[in-house]
């Protein structure tokens, strides 16, 4: 929309073709949704692998038991034998790598849904332990903002917002 003011008055020009192209279905096409999903997942996993929750207001993931007394997870004999590369720091929810690799997104009508879509009991147990904090001996290490009032940290929100803004400016500029 262009606005011109001169001595004769005010002239407003509405660019209808651009306005039509900016309909929600065109802005949020499948390519944009895929970019959104990939951008969000990259940002989420980057924080988790460095021991930080992607959820605003949630502090750094609590340390493993062995970092307090020198024994216990992940210094147990079984873990050391099967996963010798597993370290006590950072606390990154990565042992075999499967849990984080199963965190993915699905494109739907409205946008995207990020989560674990794997229905195996093992995955559900890990979600209950880390995301929901239901294990009595393991501290909660929240990855997704699923509680009421939760949201992603500002830097992830910015990355997601920029994908949509760049799509809009591409449409305007095309």
């Amino acid at each position: 929309m262009a606005v011109t003011i001169n001595r004769r008055g005010l002239k407003i020009t509405i660019d209808l073709p651009t306005l039509e192209r900016l309909n929600p279905d065109n802005v949020m096409n499948n390519e944009t949704k895929d970019r959104l999903g990939n951008t969000a997942l990259t940002a989420i996993k980057s924080r988790v692998t460095n021991g930080l929750s992607p959820v605003e207001g949630v502090p750094r993931f609590p340390g493993y038991k062995s970092t307090r007394d020198g024994s216990g997870y992940p210094r147990t004999a079984a873990i050391r034998e099967k996963f010798p590369a597993k370290k006590t720091r950072p606390v990154n929810l990565t042992l075999s790598g499967e849990f984080l690799s199963l965190l993915t997104y699905r494109v739907d009508q409205l946008g995207i849904t990020i989560g674990w879509f794997d229905r195996r009991q093992r995955t559900r147990d890990l979600i209950a332990t880390h995301q929901e904090g239901r294990h009595p001996h393991v501290p909660r290490r929240q990855i997704l903002p699923l509680d009421e009032g939760n949201r992603f940290v500002a830097s992830i929100r910015r990355s997601i917002k920029n994908v949509v803004l760049e799509r809009i400016t591409r449409i305007i500029n095309s």
């Binding site: 021991g51 930080l52 340390g63 062995s66 020198g70 210094r75 920029n162 803004l165």
Partner: protein, 226 residues
């Protein structure tokens, strides 16, 4: 550039650096506040990531290795024998960033582990430990990769402001005789930013793209289809 470490603190409960993200740069109060929140997360994530990789987020250089005595202590506690500044983990748990004002943040260790943080950073000038710095001193910057990320956030805040509170000089921009003259005018708002940073900020702002498109000025940008 816009980002400046203005002050450092080294007390028993606070070892920190105060940073002005908008030194010499104009932006609306709201845009500064939003940018400060984003910058705070970027800084914390980068400091923790660099410490995991045993390098300084200030100089970008690897930390000095631990001596044998320190390695023995860490091994006994089941910790990796690398200089990642983790023993109990308390100091890094207390690492935080606060938004202290319009475009201003304070990053540091807040709590009883603050003196340990000063031991590594020597902000007080009294530490005898090997320097393993993760907080900038007065006048110092973070390493270039972090600065670049922060500058982009600030450029986006300026772009947001020029569409809401300030007015770009349309006629002067239309009369610009060259690309460099055009960007020089924009740099009166985007002080000290590169053409690439300005362009990225513009193309993340639909209002600005419309402003330039309606005046046939998108031709000055590399990413334009015009």
């Amino acid at each position: 550039m816009a980002i400046r470490t203005t002050k450092t603190n080294a007390t028993t409960t606070r070892t920190s650096s105060e940073i002005d993200l908008f030194d010499g740069v104009s932006a609306s109060r709201q845009a500064k506040r939003n940018a400060a929140e984003i910058a705070a997360e970027i800084i914390i994530e980068n400091i923790q990531t660099d410490l995991n990789a045993t390098k300084s987020p200030v100089s970008g250089e690897q930390f000095k290795r631990l001596d044998d005595a320190q390695k023995r202590i860490k091994r006994k506690r089941g910790e990796p024998t690398i200089p990642n500044l983790e023993l109990s983990g308390t100091m890094r748990d207390q690492l935080d960033v606060k938004v202290t004002g319009s475009g201003k943040i304070e990053v540091g260790v807040f709590g009883d582990a603050a003196p340990r943080a000063d031991g590594h950073n020597n902000l007080s000038g009294k530490s005898a430990l090997p320097l393993r710095q993760f907080l900038p001193k007065e006048g110092e910057d973070f390493r270039s990769g972090i600065q670049r990320e922060l500058n982009q956030v600030i450029a986006e805040a300026v772009a947001e402001s020029v569409t809401t509170t300030q007015r770009l000089p349309a006629r002067r921009l239309q009369n610009a005789s060259s690309k460099s003259a055009f960007f020089d005018i924009l740099r009166e708002f985007f002080v000290d930013f590169t053409n690439a940073q300005i362009e990225t900020a513009v193309f993340r702002n639909p209002e600005l793209v419309l402003f330039f498109r309606d005046r046939n000025l998108l031709r000055f940008f590399n990413g334009s289809n015009n």
